[in-house]
Symmetry: C2
Subunit: 413 residues, 2 copies
């Protein structure tokens, strides 16, 4: 671990207001780290609606299995998140640990274990000693406050170089509501795995099915459009909770995600999700540059996204960005290998505003100096016009640097 | 470019015998490099049967398009290969260059342009000046000899650190035949692209459809089972030629790839293809270790191969290998993200002969010392048992080192 903060970190952190209906506390349970908080408890004193999106891994962690099961109930009273141990690939012991943690939380908060949600991040293959939670959750429940977002974001960090927080507000039917979110990103060292965790809470009153629809729809162009190195954690978890406290101000409960009253909320939520997702990319291991890859003119939006991911995950494209090299040939290569329809002779490619290739050839007006100037920026936009249809997608990634290899290759040495 | 030879290079090179029916010459046409040969001409004085397998890229180079078209005729009289310029993403000019090169070769050799095959490797997006070939192909045709395999392998190198040659012999119906092959690998620097080219010639008498069937079948577990960084060139080309000279010794022409007389030939050919493919992996940019990933017990062989490629292409697995870290959690991660059926609780993983995980948990007998000893070797075997069926595949890759990033990221600086 270098100990230094990503050069792409935000210059300042958002001031996080309270969200009515949720209280938080953190503690140092000594799961793995010493002298730092490693457990976060979120308490909903009234039942909150809950929605979740999880890793697509076929080998998910025990907490992911646990959350998926409880999601069917649609109601949350407590969330327990720990860093230091992912409780993944821990077999029967892993399932026992989730049960025990949920029992401890339900006893502390006074709810059913079915209303508890769990997430773990850290080393995999090591049994998680869930008895450590039993000793702290009671005190945490009584001490939890509503003004604790920044501390919560810090408690779930593993090797992130900065805490990730975001807040938005919106009006639903004349009533003002707040959305707060925290995330942890793709710190994969020592021997942690890449895991993206994010918890978003609003005081809006939205029924679980509508909340799930909002979250699922919002995830596509945000958390599901960022990639650090194409590797997928066993533990990725994004959850959205709606405490419903705004009902006291007269907000009428929303039961349908298509309700026009949600227009502003939906926009604010998606904006917050994108902000958190980009904070994760900007803290990718060894990242020195952020890259937004936009593909237009593909056969479909889905095809555009697959092409964009092929570009964003290409080691040759990512090393070229690290080298500040406007190597558009590697972009052509990545388009070609995506498997999606493309016609070489219709391709056009831009780095920033500089068109480097058009009609399947180097742009006649190509300027190496202009293209190189773009590559020296911290934030780089790569745009590809396929020329076949109207499919469009943008994905976000970071460069591939020697520091990435060092972080992920040298950590036991 | 470091100028140093890969530590995984063969300790000695095969002695390459002549193959009756093919002559070769090399020349320095000054395509890009100075003071080195950059053109290879292969001449078949009698028409040879030809088979080919090409990149799956949707944006193939002009020579790949050209070869695919001529392959339908099944007959080869000349092959022209150049390094220094890939003639890829060169639009109409690229097609003109292939036509002109084929015209020059057909005039020199005395054949139809439809009997000429082309391959180019090097910079992309730069027009290839095919007039440079016209000046050298005549002399090359008259000077070509049958004892030139090693020089031929050198002429097609770009940033390979060693030439790649292999030879095998086999008996078909009592007649002894030879198979020789050369390859160039995944040197991707300065500003070349990754391109795998390989040309294999036998004096056996085998009809084009049977030859194509042999090659297509042989490519799956060999050239199509190696990966350096998951990136796919626009120019990958593997061709197999059969001169038929063995007919003079009484070898009866083979018309059917299923002919039992081919048993020994098929085995020798596949062995040669695997040897050349592994030489390419062992010369991957920055490679310090070769990794053989075997997946067993998947639902199908195809599923096993997709899982194995997911492991072999994972930057986290590859950096762990570079760091000599027996990080089996990253193997679980890569199995999980492959999208193929897997049951976490049935997985078992070996590094070399050391079983590190079983039944979805760390092996109770796990020894960090034993696993670490395996990781210190040059050649590392990773084996995963999925426990669901009998599907099986092996793929080959190399580690991901800081040198890879340096080679591919720093080359214009």
């Amino acid at each position: 671990m270098s100990g230094s903060v990503s050069p792409l970190a935000p210059k300042s952190f958002a001031e996080m207001p309270a969200v009515r209906g949720v209280r938080m506390a953190t503690a140092a349970a000594g799961i793995k780290y010493k002298n730092r908080t490693d457990v976060l408890l979120m308490v909903f004193d009234e039942p909150a609606a809950v929605a979740g999106v999880f890793t697509r891994s076929r080998c998910p962690s025990a907490p992911v299995d646990f959350c998926r099961r409880n999601l069917a109930g649609g109601v949350a009273r407590a969330v327990v998140v720990n860093s230091g141990n992912a409780n993944a690939f821990t077999g029967r012991k892993g399932r026992d640990a989730t049960e025990l943690t949920a029992q401890s939380a339900s006893a502390a908060v006074g709810c059913s274990p079915n209303e508890v949600f769990l997430a773990s991040t850290g080393v995999i293959g090591e049994p998680l000693d869930a008895t450590k939670f039993a000793g702290v959750l009671g005190d945490m429940t009584s001490q939890a406050t509503d003004d604790f977002w920044f501390e919560a974001a810090k408690a779930i960090m593993t090797t992130d170089t900065y805490p990730k927080v975001a807040t938005r507000s919106a009006v639903i039917g004349g009533v003002s509501v707040t959305i707060n979110g925290i995330a942890k990103g793709a710190g994969m060292i020592a021997p942690d795995m890449a895991t993206m965790l994010s918890f978003v809470v609003t005081d809006a009153d939205i029924a679980p099915p509508a909340l799930q629809a909002l979250l699922s729809e919002g995830t596509g162009p945000t958390f599901n459009s960022v990639t650090v190195d194409s590797d997928t954690s066993t533990s990725d978890t994004l959850m959205l909770f709606a405490t419903g406290a705004a009902a006291k101000d007269g907000q009428v409960r929303i039961n349908d995600a298509g309700d026009p009253a949600l227009e502003e909320f939906r926009s604010a939520l998606n904006d917050l999700l994108l902000n958190l997702a980009l904070q994760v990319v900007r803290d990718g291991e060894g990242a020195r540059k952020m890259v937004a890859v936009t593909v237009e003119g593909a056969e479909t939006d889905a095809a555009a996204k697959r092409i964009a991911l092929s570009i964003a995950n290409s080691p040759l494209v990512k090393t070229a960005v690290a080298g500040e090299d406007a190597n558009w040939g590697r972009v052509v290569m990545a388009v070609g290998k995506s498997g999606e329809m493309a016609d070489r002779d219709r391709l056009a490619i831009w780095f920033g505003d500089v068109r480097v290739a058009v009609d399947g050839e180097r742009d006649p007006a190509y300027s190496e100096a202009a293209a190189s100037a773009v590559m020296k920026e911290d934030d780089i936009a790569i745009r590809v016009e396929i020329g076949l249809g109207s499919g469009r997608a943008t994905v976000y990634t970071c460069d591939l640097t020697k520091e990435y290899v060092e972080i992920n290759g040298d950590y036991r040495s």
